[in-house]
């Protein structure tokens, strides 16, 4: 497994502007859409995904001075978006609004998951996974993180990552076979 960033990750950063605001703006242009896509895979509506990404850039701006290596800013953004998405889901649960997508109810999925035309059946199935499994799947297969990196980001053991990944892929394969 390669080091982060993964298949959707950016090329190595060209030299960033020395001015903090100019640097954050340059990163915004380079990574905003990719990060919205990442957040969108973890939360259930585009508006929230955009909000999470805005928060990440704002945090980066505020903490620019404490970044040891400006080249690490992209990794900081990725992690910030993952944390922000997880926090958003967590707040949503505590706010009593948490309604997991119904895997057997297409109408419900259409109305609750993004203002979009339907994606692939496999992606829909990912959205029905338990939260932790979904996070592991996105970090592993979208961000191309290693098990150790995922464990570090999610604050769980590498064994738990392996378990969640195994259960998730098994459930997804079963779902796809059932639909086929």
């Amino acid at each position: 497994m390669s080091e982060h960033p993964g298949p959707q990750g950016p090329p190595p950063e060209a030299a960033l502007p020395t001015d903090r605001r100019a640097a954050v703006t340059a990163l915004f242009h380079a990574h905003h859409r990719r990060l919205v896509g990442l957040a969108g895979l973890l939360v259930d509506d585009r508006g929230s995904a955009e909000e999470v990404v805005q928060d990440a850039f704002e945090q980066l701006y505020r903490r620019w001075g404490s970044l040891r290596d400006p080249q690490a800013a992209v990794a900081y953004l990725d992690r910030s978006v993952v944390n922000g998405s997880r926090s958003w889901v967590r707040r949503r649960i505590t706010a009593r609004g948490y309604e997991p997508p119904d895997p057997g109810n297409a109408a419900s999925a259409e109305s609750s998951v993004l203002d979009r035309e339907r994606g692939s059946a496999l992606v829909d199935a990912v959205r029905t996974l338990p939260r932790r499994q979904r996070e592991v799947v996105v970090l592993r297969y979208f961000l191309d993180l290693s098990e150790a990196q995922i464990a570090d980001w999610l604050g769980i053991s590498a064994g738990s990552v392996k378990k969640h990944q195994s259960r998730a892929t098994e459930a997804l394969q079963q779902r796809m076979e059932a639909w086929a």
């Binding site: 298949p7 703006t25 896509g37 895979l41 704002e58 309604e99 994606g119 496999l122 992606v123």
Partner: protein, 385 residues
Amino acid sequence: MTTFEQTLVADLRAEADRIAAGTDTSAMRQELDRRLDGAGSARARRRWLSVVAVVAATAVVVAIAAVAVRRDNADVPPAQGTGWTGEQLYARPSLVLPGWASDIDPVVAPRRIARWAQAECGQNPCEAGKDRLLEVFLPLTGWDPQSGMSGDVLTWVAAANYFSELTQRPGVVPVEGQPFTQQATLAAGVANVAVITTTQDIPGALGCTQLASSIGDCQSFVRGTRNVIAIVNAGDAPLVVWSSALSSSDSAAQDAEMTQVLSTLRLTGVPVSCTDSVSTTVAQQNCAADLWVRVARDATRLADGGQANQSHFDEAVKPYLEGDGIAQGFAYSRGPSDGDDRTSTKPTTASLTVAGTTSEVNVCFVGPQVIIGEGPCPDGSGTGG
């Protein structure tokens, strides 16, 4: 990587691209500029505030000293925070809020829930001590994850088993030693108090504030939080006071806050004469506020797991009509037509007048459940004709 995994990678990338394609980057850039402008101003403000804070801190020390002297002399009770009364809630609870909640407007849903939450913690994940939640709510039912519906109605008697039921759920870890719960006598009455953490998220674990067909109507445990919970006898119903904070927060401070909240809790609207049994006592005015909940509960019980319908509602309201305190009985109108009641989302309405005050509600039949409220019926429910 297997073929399946390669497909998964490709589909996730395509999905992310599709999500991102719908975003307005230009508008987002403007929004970011606005935020960064604000952040810049905030930095400048912070510099000034750091100076002001030193001055203010000195002033506070002097003020505290002055207040302490005055307390010694006048025997004035210590200032404890902002008082709050839940006029819209059953049992009308009042309490003194912890300091962090004093400036927060609570989210209050009529009858059963009031909530104070620190909405912005400033970073992700939140710093310990900056993601706190205080909630006062009256769970009506438990949540049954098997059926995906609300479970049994919780009476105070049933609430005596509330904690033992909670502890049996996978992932729940009581952090207090044995005995698990403490009994406390409050001004509000008897309470059971417990501290709970969980190893996983448990949607709906704390029960639901209405007869629910959605987990969104229920209260949930979140992994990584420390929860201090008090179950208070509010007449026939359990009232839950729930403090939640990240496990890494200062537990002593959380306990102290909860102690303050509980020590100041008063219930001024407890239907003291209401009993769980169906009798004319519920017709007394002090029970009327909770009467619709009781009718819904009884009608649901009468449906006994089958499709609830109007006859169950009729049977459930009959005993209440005999109450001495009811000046005018129920009057209800049916849904749009007799023929297609089950597919209609127009509710049956019912009204009750007690001592000159009339309340009108919508009655919905959702599978085996009778739901009574002021809002529209959930899609797919019928009036159950």
